[in-house]
């Protein structure tokens, strides 16, 4: 009842809600109109800003000819390998550490300190050791994705309510039962949040390391087009990559929400 009342009073009037959505739509339209005016009326050089229609045509062509498939496959393959390694290592090591409060005290500050370093710095080193091809991207993505996953796994399993554990144990729960019915449900939301963060940073660092030093992949393609001054096509690829990243992020958020609900 109380909640309902507060809900009722907090709700914005319809007019304000509509107006704020109007502002958002207008903002997006404004960006496109400015883009159109800049390229068609104010004659901004097409090397700096290509015509939106050219970009659209290029995007259609890239998708129709399917030339993106090779780069997409490489990038996604690198990312899948990186995320898999980060997940397996992060969850396994994090779980092992979380079993002892002492180990948590030893390792958590260490991981947190490393997490504060922009690990992308080590890319030249990774390239030196693993070369310009996919292995260096996989290794870097795995390293960067590992830290949020391991930290959240440690926190998730380490902070399960002690009363629940003591209660389950005193009622004679086996280790497996304890894990399945007490530890896992307690830790899952935090671990899932860590996996989602690891997913995002691993994906971005794979694309980022392709941008900086690589032989193939979507990041490489964008750089290549930039160097050849094929701006419209480059913009088309940027739009394409943003769409892919958004799609993957939506997918992982949906999976996370579903797992949480389960």
């Amino acid at each position: 009842m109380n909640g309902d009342l507060r809900e009722h009073f907090n709700r914005e009037p319809l007019a304000i809600r509509l107006a704020s959505h109007g502002v958002q739509v207008a903002f997006i339209f404004g960006v496109f109109i400015l883009w159109f005016l800049a390229t068609n009326v104010w004659r901004v050089s097409s090397i700096l800003l290509p015509n939106p229609f050219d970009v659209w045509r290029q995007l259609i062509e890239v998708i129709r000819t399917g030339e993106f498939i090779r780069d997409l496959r490489i990038t996604l393959g690198e990312f899948a390998a990186a995320f898999a390694i980060a997940t397996v290592l992060g969850v396994a090591i994090g779980y092992a550490i979380s079993r002892s409060r002492y180990l948590i005290k030893v390792f958590e500050p260490l991981f947190a300190a490393i997490y504060a370093i922009p690990i992308i710095l080590f890319l030249p080193l990774y390239v030196m050791v693993w070369g310009l091809g996919p292995p260096s991207k996989i290794a870097l993505g795995a390293t960067i994705g590992f830290f949020p996953i391991v930290l959240n796994t440690v926190v998730g399993f380490g902070n399960v309510d002690r009363t629940l554990i003591a209660a389950a144990r005193s009622m004679g729960a086996s280790n497996l039962q304890m894990f399945r019915h007490v530890l896992l449900p307690g830790a899952l939301p935090v671990v899932l949040a860590g996996l989602r963060m690891g997913f995002t940073v691993a994906l971005l660092s794979v694309i980022g390391s392709e941008t900086i030093a690589s032989l193939a992949g979507l990041g490489h393609r964008i750089v290549n087009l930039a160097e050849n001054m094929e701006m419209a096509r480059m913009f088309a690829y940027i739009v394409f990559v943003i769409a892919i990243v958004a799609l993957l992020n939506t997918a992982i958020s949906t999976i996370e929400a579903y797992a949480r609900w389960q």
């Binding site: 914005e12 304000i16 809600r17 107006a19 704020s20 959505h21 109007g22 502002v23 958002q24 903002f27 090397i47 700096l48 079993r99 002892s100 409060r101 002492y102 005290k105 030893v106 390792f107 500050p109 260490l110 300190a113 504060a116 370093i117 922009p118 992308i120 710095l121 080590f122 890319l123 030249p124 080193l125 390239v127 030196m128 050791v129 002690r162 554990i165 144990r169 280790n175 304890m178 894990f179 530890l183 994906l203 971005l204 694309i207 980022g208 941008t211 900086i212 030093a213 990041g219 964008i222 750089v223 930039a226 160097e227 480059m234 940027i238 990559v241 943003i242 990243v245 958004a246 992020n249």
Partner: protein, 271 residues
């Protein structure tokens, strides 16, 4: 499976184990240092006996070559230039972040309409437009600063807006009804309440600026550290490369620690 050998486990171990183990159990920090020493030791061993010295250097060789690294013409200047880019980027990101954060956070309508746009822009993978930044701002420091700003300003905006949103409306109304002018309200009501979230934003912003500047440096650079990382990579000088990268990592840790300290210090008063 020792599900919870935590307090009870530690206590039990402490009473039954020898004095050394008891001493260690009371000091996780010592064990942590031992773990770090072990990692560095195995790196030293692997680099000396197992791996190719052309591609990886043992930590001892890195330490020895630090002098030579700093004596390499241009390296101190490159470090200075990168620090300068980070500093300018951080200041600009803070200014833009706080201004936009205040505007978006203070008005209810502005918050409803613009916050989703800010979140949308923040969610974009900015790395895809790095080549565009270089085309627009050139390969000099300007593109690094701009890329740092674009990474750093959004977390600051979001934190500041969230902080201002949480100010009790009673305080604002009270101040206004007692005849406070807008600057007075800003200074005496909004700023003090903004402080904790402001410093949280600064910490996240620092992480963003570091990331943006370093990404742009590594992508293309004529005089900054990115120039030297690719130089050392191409010349197969792993000792210098590891030394330079470690120094930058150390700088990043120091900068992060400073903003984190500031955050806990200024966030304390209401927490």
């Amino acid at each position: 499976m020792a599900v919870m050998d935590t307090d009870a486990g530690v206590a039990r171990a402490a009473t039954t184990e020898g004095p050394l183990k008891r001493w260690l159990l009371a000091r996780p920090g010592v064990t942590r240092i031992a773990v770090i020493a072990l990692l560095i030791g195995s790196w030293e061993f692997a680099a000396r006996f197992l791996l190719d010295r052309d591609f990886i250097s043992p930590p001892s060789a890195v330490l020895i070559s630090l002098g030579a690294l700093l004596a390499t013409p241009g390296v101190p200047k490159a470090l200075g230039l990168t620090l300068y880019e980070i500093a300018i980027g951080f200041v600009l990101a803070s200014l833009i972040g706080v201004t936009v954060g205040l505007v978006v956070g203070l008005g209810r309508f502005a918050h409803k309409s613009f916050m989703p746009i800010v979140l949308l822009l923040y969610g974009l993978p900015q790395i895809t437009i790095l080549p565009l930044f270089v085309l627009l701002f050139g390969i000099g420091p300007a593109s690094k600063i701009a890329f740092g700003v674009s990474h750093g300003m959004f977390p600051i905006m979001i934190a500041v807006a969230a902080g201002v949103q949480k100010i009790d409306p009673v305080l604002m109304r009270g101040a206004r009804s007692m005849g406070a002018s807008p600057p007075q309200i800003l200074y005496h009501v909004i700023f003090p309440h903004m402080v904790p979230s402001f410093f949280t934003g600064l910490r996240l912003g620092m992480t963003g600026v570091l990331l943006g500047v370093l990404l742009a440096e590594l992508y293309v650079s004529t005089a900054g550290i990115g120039y030297f990382t690719s130089l050392f990579t191409q010349n197969l000088q792993p000792a210098k490369l590891i030394g330079l990268v470690s120094m930058l990592a150390l700088i990043a840790v120091v900068l992060n620690t400073i903003v984190r300290r500031a955050e806990t210090h200024y966030g304390r008063w209401r927490a």
